[in-house]
């Protein structure tokens, strides 16, 4: 069930976009990336990022693999699949359509 302060359904889009630019990020890095790039305006907490990642993995938009980092610790990193790239394009254009529609309403009303 979505929380009131959640990203209003845009989490998938953000994750896909970030992974398209910087493939091979792990969950924590994706989370901090959202926070950093949005200058702390958008926050994805742990409780939503992982279910989202696993859901998208299930939908085969992204794929995961275990890598060993320099400090010998294992991390699960994600990258986009071909289906994920398509999905990103679809989501992006829908987002643009929605936001432009919203701003039009704000301007014209």
């Amino acid at each position: 069930m979505p929380k009131p302060d959640s990203l209003q359904g845009s989490l998938d889009l953000l994750v896909l976009k970030i992974l398209s630019r910087r493939p091979g990020l792990h969950g924590y890095a994706i989370m901090t990336a959202i926070q950093d790039i949005s200058r702390d305006v958008l926050r994805a907490d742990e409780g939503s990022i992982y279910p989202a990642l696993h859901r998208m993995e299930e939908a085969e938009w992204i794929r995961a693999k275990w890598v060993t980092k320099e400090n010998k610790k294992r991390a699960r990193v994600y990258e986009l699949t071909r289906a994920g790239e398509n999905q990103l394009a679809t989501e992006e254009s829908r987002w643009n359509a929605v936001t432009s529609a919203v701003s039009r309403v704000l301007r014209m009303a």
Partner: protein, 876 residues
């Protein structure tokens, strides 16, 4: 992720969980590295369990996961109600096991074809005619010379194969001291070829092994006998054994699985038909005739040809008959030849046991239904008790399918456990029953392989049972309306009515099983306790063989020797024991005219036989050593009634089969001669021929012993007979009681099995009734509390609790009695001395049912009466 890995994950939930855990740990480590507080980072995950669950649900196939959970949950539920579950598993197990065992027997005896090539081209020839009692009967026996004529007549369309009846005989491999018994069957030399059989060792017979009478002393062993007796030793080919004073040589071993042509009797040794003395006699009916159709030929044409030849041969034979009444002669000549499919072989046992087995299958099916109804009721009661749980599940979003799956999983576990119990029961019980079909010293043997038919049947019954008893409660449970259930139940009576309906059906089936069992037990009881007319107590029948040429004088010496032994009171001699199934008959004429067309039985006996058998002498005298045959005879009362119009026949003369003249010297009481089921037959006891020609090769010495266990003397008798005269040998020792008992083997077996099923049915019905009453008290405890509170006396409460259920029992009993009357007609031929609609038995069945219902009601009623209104009303 592939479907397989999801499946894998579902079955083994842990690796996925571990992977998710590890990812989270790596996340926290990363956060700490970036300077976040470890505790804070951990807390950010919130309830880790929740994330785990959400992630897990996405990554595995939800259905499989819930199935696993349901099975675990069902298992826990079953373990929670250990007693009820054990009762359910046991009753279902017994019921399915009995079903499978019954199927195993029916398959082995009736359904399975013989392991021969193209069994569908195999037929057998029968003749439809009248037996000596005047009843229409399907005859199986043929005479060998006739067989040869008929074989030649149809040889272009079909091949006829002669096969003797299986019989148990004695043989010796090395010395005369070691006598063994084996089943032998004489078969046409071309049989193996025609059946498409190949030898397991050595060679099989061919047509050239079966050409001239007494010229082919060769034997083929069955695979089973080869294994049992010789441990599959290939060197057995070429060995010799002695049987019937002939020396036979073993030439080969038949293929595995071929056990002869008689289901129920496994042949050990096959011999060529030409080695049997009967091949040259046109009045010895000792073979069955198989008809192997050539491909594409018409069975009807072959039958018509056989009929023509058969009638011609019979007319030729009839010319030699003397003293036959005209009516009988006509019946003899008008016999119809039938050619019927016989791909499964033909046997006496099949004829004797097919109806009983079908009946048992029906009884077993009813018991299975009762068991199913029972478990359905138990589950339904449990489901009712869990109505709140179900409602809760529905209100938090469980779908109808999910609930059905939950309840079905539980019944599937029950079914699997029950089928394990059932398989064990079937594995044990089928051979147990077969072993009890024949007398103890020569049990029937049926091949009972575990094959795909059996496994298929077991599987089908398990799956069927799961759905029969599981689906219904599952559907009911899934229909739960959460609001009303949480408020205290929607229509509490709907479910109870349903359970009551089940009870009525259950009681009806139970009554039916009880009634049929009652019929069979009564029938066995009347048959077994039939007066025989002689005393079987401490009577020993010693079948004795003599080398050729032993006259009566020597037999008397042996009898005299045995008479001297301690523990022997009397010794007499007869052709065979009474009630052994053997009989010799003939027409009786008085004053030169044949009286009636009923045959009389004859038996050769020695003087003193009457006294030994304790058959009362009514008038005249016993036979004396100087009485000769033909000359004197003793007759029974039935004989006097049939042929002398009831007048005292002592001193009068009659003729046997027209020519042999006999004077009645004594009149004795009726004794059963051949068969317990037959009405008392007119019987004449005649002396042995005592002249020089009167050689006796075998007879039965009858010993009245003094001791309690006559069979203990068997060993001594074997030695003493040989010591009296070395030419004599004991071939078999039986007590008369065992002989009598073997007359009722079928009835005993049926009565035993039917009682067993009746007890199971009663038990199941009792458990079912108890469950329903208990549930009903539980459900109505508030109502009962209120009734108590407003002053109802306990008797009123008892009435409230049991009224409906007993009404259902009454309905069921009426229904069951109706079914019983219908069924009784079907089992009529299996009954003896019992009228199918016997009212006492119907009443007894219904009474037993009510008694069980009353017993089942005691505990729930006691619970109802002990209800404390205050406690009950406060509790909700």
């Amino acid at each position: 992720m592939s479907w397989w890995s999801r499946f894998h994950h579902a079955l083994r939930g842990h690796p996925v969980d571990r992977e998710i855990d590890e990812e989270m740990e790596s996340h926290i480590a990363e956060a700490v590295e970036r300077g976040r507080d470890a505790a804070e980072a951990r807390a950010a995950f919130g309830s880790r369990l929740r994330i785990g669950e959400e992630s897990h649900e996405i990554r595995v196939l939800p259905w499989l996961d819930s199935l696993r959970a349901d099975i675990l949950f069902g298992w826990r539920q079953l373990r929670k109600h250990k007693v009820a579950s054990a009762a359910a598993v046991l009753s279902l197990g017994l019921a399915t096991g009995a079903c499978t065992a019954a199927f195993r027997l029916i398959d082995a005896l009736l359904l399975r074809p013989m392991p021969v090539a193209e069994p569908e081209r195999l037929y057998a020839m029968f003749t439809l005619g009248y037996d000596p009692g005047g009843h229409l009967r399907l005859g199986e026996s043929n005479e060998y010379p006739q067989f040869q004529t008929m074989r030649a007549a149809v040889k272009h369309d079909a091949d006829l194969i002669a096969v003797s009846y299986g019989e148990r005989i004695e043989l010796t491999y090395s010395s005369d001291q070691e006598i063994e018994k084996a089943h032998r069957q004489f078969v046409s030399g071309w049989m193996f070829d025609s059946f498409g059989l190949t030898p397991a060792a050595g060679r099989l017979f061919t047509e050239s092994d079966d050409e001239k009478p007494h010229a082919h002393p060769y034997a083929v062993l069955s695979y089973d006998y080869w294994t049992r007796r010789f441990g599959k030793d290939p060197k057995v080919v070429g060995r010799r054994f002695r049987m019937d004073n002939d020396l036979y040589q073993i030439v080969g071993v038949a293929p595995q699985g071929f056990t002869g042509t008689e289901p129920g009797t496994m042949t050990d040794i096959f011999l060529p038909t030409m080695m049997y003395a009967g091949v040259t006699h046109d009045d010895w009916g000792w073979i069955r005739t198989f008809v192997r159709m050539k491909p594409g030929r018409s069975v009807k044409a072959v039958r018509d040809r056989l009929q023509t030849v058969f009638t011609a041969v019979q007319s030729e034979r009839a010319k030699g008959f003397v003293g036959w009444p005209q009516k009988r002669l006509e019946k003899f000549l008008h016999q119809t030849v039938l050619v019927l499919p016989a791909g499964g072989g033909i046997s006496y046992m099949r004829k004797e046991y097919s109806l009983p087995l079908e009946l048992l299958a029906v009884l077993v099916g009813l018991v299975l239904l009762i068991a199913c109804a029972n478990v359905a009721n138990l589950l339904m009661g449990q489901a009712a008790a869990r109505a709140r749980e179900m409602a809760l599940r529905v209100s938090i979003g469980a779908g109808r399918g999910g609930l059905i799956q939950l309840v079905l999983a539980e019944s599937a576990i029950l079914a699997v456990l029950a089928s394990v119990v059932g398989a064990l029961f079937a594995w044990w019980s089928a051979p147990y029953v077969v072993a009890r079909i024949n007398p103890a010293d020569d049990p029937a043997r049926l091949a009972l392989p575990v094959d795909w038919r059996l496994l298929g049947f077991g599987l089908a019954s398990t799956v069927g049972v799961t759905f029969l008893f599981g689906l219904f409660p599952a559907l009911r449970a899934s229909g739960t309306q959460p609001v009303s259930a949480l408020k205290g139940g929607e229509d509490p009576h709907a479910r109870r009515r349903l359970m009551h309906g089940t009870i009525a059906v259950q009681v009806a089936f139970c009554c039916l099983v009880l009634f049929v069992a009652g019929l069979l037990v009564t029938s066995f009881d009347r048959l077994a306790n039939q007066p025989t007319g002689f005393s079987s107590e401490r009577l020993l029948a010693v079948d004795t063989e003599a080398r050729p040429g032993q006259t009566l004088v020597f037999w008397n010496q042996v009898a005299e020797h045995l008479r001297e032994l301690p523990g022997v009171e009397r010794v007499a001699m007869a052709g065979w024991p009474l009630l052994s199934g053997i009989g010799s008959n003939g027409f009786v004429s008085v004053n030169g005219a044949v009286v009636g067309d009923r045959l009389a039985y004859f038996l050769n006996v020695s003087p003193g036989w009457l006294e030994t058998m304790k058959i009362p002498l009514i008038d005249g005298r016993d036979l004396r050593p100087d009485d000769v045959y033909p000359g004197a005879a003793i007759v029974n009362e039935a004989f006097a009634k049939e042929y002398f119009g009831g007048a005292n026949p002592v001193g009068r003369w009659f003729a046997r089969s027209g020519t042999t003249r006999l004077e009645v010297v004594g009149l004795v009481g009726n004794a059963r001669y051949r068969d317990m089921r037959e009405p008392i037959t007119p019987t004449a006891y005649v002396p042995y021929r005592s002249d020089a020609d009167g050689r006796v090769s075998h007879a039965t010495l009858l010993l009245r012993t003094a001791g309690g266990s006559p069979l203990a003397m068997a060993g001594i008798l074997r030695g003493e007979v040989a010591r009296a005269r070395p030419e004599f040998r004991v071939s078999n020792v039986r007590t008369q009681i065992d002989i009598n008992r073997s007359q009722t083997v079928r009835e005993r077996l049926l009565a035993m099995l039917a009682s067993f099923f009746a007890v199971i049915a009663l038990l199941l019905a009792g458990i079912g009734l108890y469950g329903v009453l208990d549930y009903s008290v539980l459900q109505r405890r508030r109502e009962i509390g209120i009734r108590f509170a407003v002053g109802a006396p306990p008797s009123r409460i008892v009435n409230v609790v049991i009224r409906e259920v007993f009404a259902m029992v009454a309905c069921g009993a009426v229904l069951g009695s109706g079914l019983g009357l219908l069924a009784a007609r079907y089992v009529n031929t299996l009954l003896y001395g019992v009228k199918p609609g016997e009212p006492e038995l119907l009443v007894a069945a219904a009474f037993t049912m009510f008694a069980i219902a009353a017993a089942a009601a005691i505990a729930p009623v006691a619970r109802a009466v002990r209800i404390e209104p205050l406690v009950v009303l406060k509790s909700d």
